[in-house]
Amino acid sequence: MELGPILRAIRRNKARFGLIAVEVALTLAVVVNCIALIADARAQMARPSGFPDDDLLTVSSAPFDAAFKEPGYQQAALRADLDALAALPGVAVVTSTRLIPWSGGGSSGEYRQAGAGDAAPMLRSQIYNADERTLDALGVRLVAGRTFTREEVDRDTRRLQEITIHPRELGSDGRPVDKFLQDVVVTRAWAEHVFGPGPHLGRLFQDSDGDQYRVLGVFDPFYNPYGWPIHEYAVFYARRSSSYENGTRYLVQAEPGQASALARTIEETLTRVNRLRAVEVSRVTEIRYLYFGRQRMVAGLMGLVAVLLVVVTGLGLVGLTSFLVSERTRQIGTRRALGASMVDIVRYFLVENWLLMSIGIAMGVGLAVALNLALVSSIASARLDPITVAAAAAALWLLGLASALVPALRAARTSPAVATRSV
């Protein structure tokens, strides 16, 4: 329609019109990167642990009475706790384990492929004890092999007790002379990290003492945040946790929907079973919620900024456009006198606005990418995604249109008689 003259007129007033384009560009760049940060935070929060978090509860039992120093008492207390918990209605599986999903703590060890020389790199992994019920309680999804049987757990637990009582004989290299072989269950990420692609069943790896481990079962997914970047790597030994001296932990998998009711019941029940310790029950969903506090804060604050920005820019565009229209009242009157209809006037300003928005959005996309490169250099996962950019651009176009509408309509009502008014 009048694209040429409108563009040429814009070029003559680069400063004023440039302001609109620059505002739009900056807003697009900032909003898009806010969204990238929000998306990154939400992606982190959406990671599955590999466990049915909604149905899991962790129970800590911390004794303070001297009675607990005696191993026989400890065993009996442990048994009593597990029996009482298993008997509760709504409980699917109970186990004694130190693994607390989403808590980032625990033990770790280093391993390498069996047969690899001393120079081969050691790979670190989280390590946990599991009895015949633990992996079921955790609700892990086996992709190969199986979990431990009761016999295997008993056998390996006895072997460890033996070692505690009769320490192993050490050779000249400081390592035990007799090595043993143990069956373990590992996560798929760990197996692929150590061995490469599968199958992994039956394969062997060893620790720094030379003891060997054989893959009995593999499960996936697994994600437990840890102090070191080994969140997806875990090795489970067949071992019954029995030490009660510094407190013990139980993991309870509830029937679907029963977890929140069970939280209260468990505390009452266990306190009744034994008063000489403090009981604390948490739902894994609460632990997970706390764990992601920082991400929630980032998402919330960035969301607030993005919303404020859109509002502020919308209002600013209305103000600036109104001003730029009001400056041209005489010109509008002249155009009307020369035969422009009201629709022609509205169209002129909407087209002008659309051109400015387009220039601004084009600049904004470039600016958004540049800003994002800087962002990604410190937070690699906050990469921009083209769909977001396109959606934000479309939204800004609409915002520009909306903010130009009122000034344009007001301009159209300018009387043609303005043209003959003396200056």
Partner: protein, 240 residues
Amino acid sequence: MLQMKNVVKVYRTEIVETHALSDLSIHVRAGEFVAVMGPSGSGKTTFLNVAGLLDGFERGEYLLDGVDVRKLGDGEKSRIRNKKIGFVFQSFNLIPDLDVFDNVDVPLRYRRLPAGERRDRIHRALEQVGLASRMRHYPSQLSGGQQQRVAIARVLAGDPVLILADEPTGNLDSLMTHEILDLLERINEQGTAIVMVTHSAECAAHAHRQIHLRDGRVAELDEPPSLVRGREAGLVPGLG
């Protein structure tokens, strides 16, 4: 061509109601060059606004090229302004951000003419006013006389049947005044009717006939011009 009968235009504010035009009857035939004169406050500008469909009126009848304008909507009025009327303003009213070519182009765009035809009309119009070499200049780079010639080219490019000129030489020196008035005469010789509002008898002399306005209506033609001039000096009670 331009037929006004008993036109009344009233401006209302909260306090005062002013009759800018009261019972104005004017008849301009096709091809005529008419000067409309009168002291300040006599309603010259209002007459021009009404004549050019820039403003409406309360009572009376106005036929423009045979069309009764009272029945027209804004869109139709705009079309008539675009196709049939050409305006020349006292302060030129060129659009400062557009160059000479684009300024002359403005009314043609509203007519939805194809680019080739627009270009031809613009070139011809600018040649007619002698400014073809300045096509890419901006108004700020032109003298007053040149700007007014561009405004006239803007009128010519549209090929109107009636030109309304509002003190077209009011902001120009005497040399440029002569140029513009000669140009208008030449245009009129080719058949376009011109109604020129002016307060200068010198300018009015270029027209075929003169109409005097006083208090929003046509003053009696047998009043001697000297008396009219005396009234110009402000002795006549009129519009404030």
